[in-house]
Symmetry: C2
Subunit: 275 residues, 2 copies
Amino acid sequence: MCQLLGMNCNTPTDIVFSFEGFRRRAGLTDSHSDGFGIAFFEGKGVRIFRDNQAGHSSPIADCVKQYHIKSFNVIAHIRKATQGEVTIENTHPFIREIWGENWVFAHNGNLTSFPDMSESFCQPIGSTDSEAAFCYMAEQLKNRFRKKPTEKQIFQVIQEITKELAQGGTFNFILSNGEWMIAHCSTNLHYITRKAPFGTAQRIDDDGVIDFRQHTTEKDKVTIITTFPLTKDEIWTKMEHGGFVFFKDGDKVYEVLGTPKEAIDDGTLGNAKAA
Amino acid sequence: MCQLLGMNCNTPTDIVFSFEGFRRRAGLTDSHSDGFGIAFFEGKGVRIFRDNQAGHSSPIADCVKQYHIKSFNVIAHIRKATQGEVTIENTHPFIREIWGENWVFAHNGNLTSFPDMSESFCQPIGSTDSEAAFCYMAEQLKNRFRKKPTEKQIFQVIQEITKELAQGGTFNFILSNGEWMIAHCSTNLHYITRKAPFGTAQRIDDDGVIDFRQHTTEKDKVTIITTFPLTKDEIWTKMEHGGFVFFKDGDKVYEVLGTPKEAIDDGTLGNAKAA
């Protein structure tokens, strides 16, 4: 299993506060040490950094921290390999072009059955279930719509494809085209939307503290999506099993509820440490 | 116009000596300051770093220098924008999945006519002629072969597609799938293969010196391809107008000669500084 981190905002935001807690789970406060990756949208472009070293100590992750890149949409992932070797090609997030846009995808879970994509137009490069699932999604979307449909249509079709793929196993994911971010919860996914009045927050993983008032304006909205909460003094929403949320400009635009459940123990629950 | 740098080897090699001279042309010894990018193959995966800042001063380029990544195949590009704004999505090298492989492409030139890809399966994300040409290439390859053909077939089809695209303007490029590297010269492209007995070399752009004997074994073969030579005391081969070369493991495997010509003045010639 792995852990996911996503950020969707209405203003370019520095994710370093969240990322610094998150990446401690890649070898220090947890054992997701089989590589990390982070993708920052910048307009239609993406800056993507991946390493097959553990996120907590990777020099590439240090480089990311140093530059304080601001973005409207960010997706990060720390890996605990279930399928596929610890190589760059098996490191999330994965990226594909769909309708002239960069689409970025990261998965937490394990699909024990998924479609054979070996003769598809969009094929996986590595050997993970995650990339195969994303390629299936991309192929289906391109086959159904030659040109980009509405956001509502996209959200609808993503749900249909997800339900099909989720029959193969655990399928938590975060997906973004740089304009919106879709989150699907199969077992564990949480989110929080920070907006005025802003306060302070303390990280779970190393007690780091931030006063958001020093970094924000009244209009800012910043949503953080993650496998398990990153701060101890804020209220995070736990997504329901089978639920979908569509975020844009930091706001929840569409939501499809799933089955409310107590946190499902997929083996990572002991590491949750949520307040 | 822009400048290109490629490396194809039979042993994982650190490109920093060449890259440090090359990136000085991005603002110091030349004016290719509209962003830079460098892609390192690592198995089937790719580490890609891009910045829309000038390569000579970009903190991302500093980060690349610091880690001394070793690779069999590297493609780098410094941009002097002709078409498309100075943004990440318009920054070479471009990357697409073809037959389950990462393909990386960088272009120097200017295509004033190129195919409309707006309803294709593979669409450009940015607004450069270069990315549109690469997408056309990817679409054609996937349409002609559902599964990966032989290297000889790939080289043949790339030539056909290139001749079609090159009717639209200047089209120097370097292309790699991580196993081989194809170079096409429209106006200016040079290469050198370094092998035993190794010697020393002095960079043109800052007089930096290297003794390759300290970094190599007898079996090593390293080919460097670049718009204009990077060293002053080695003999570089100038490719012919319309010529193609296919390199693998540092060796020239296939070559199609073009028209031998004196260097063609495409406006960058004054900056050649080759010995």
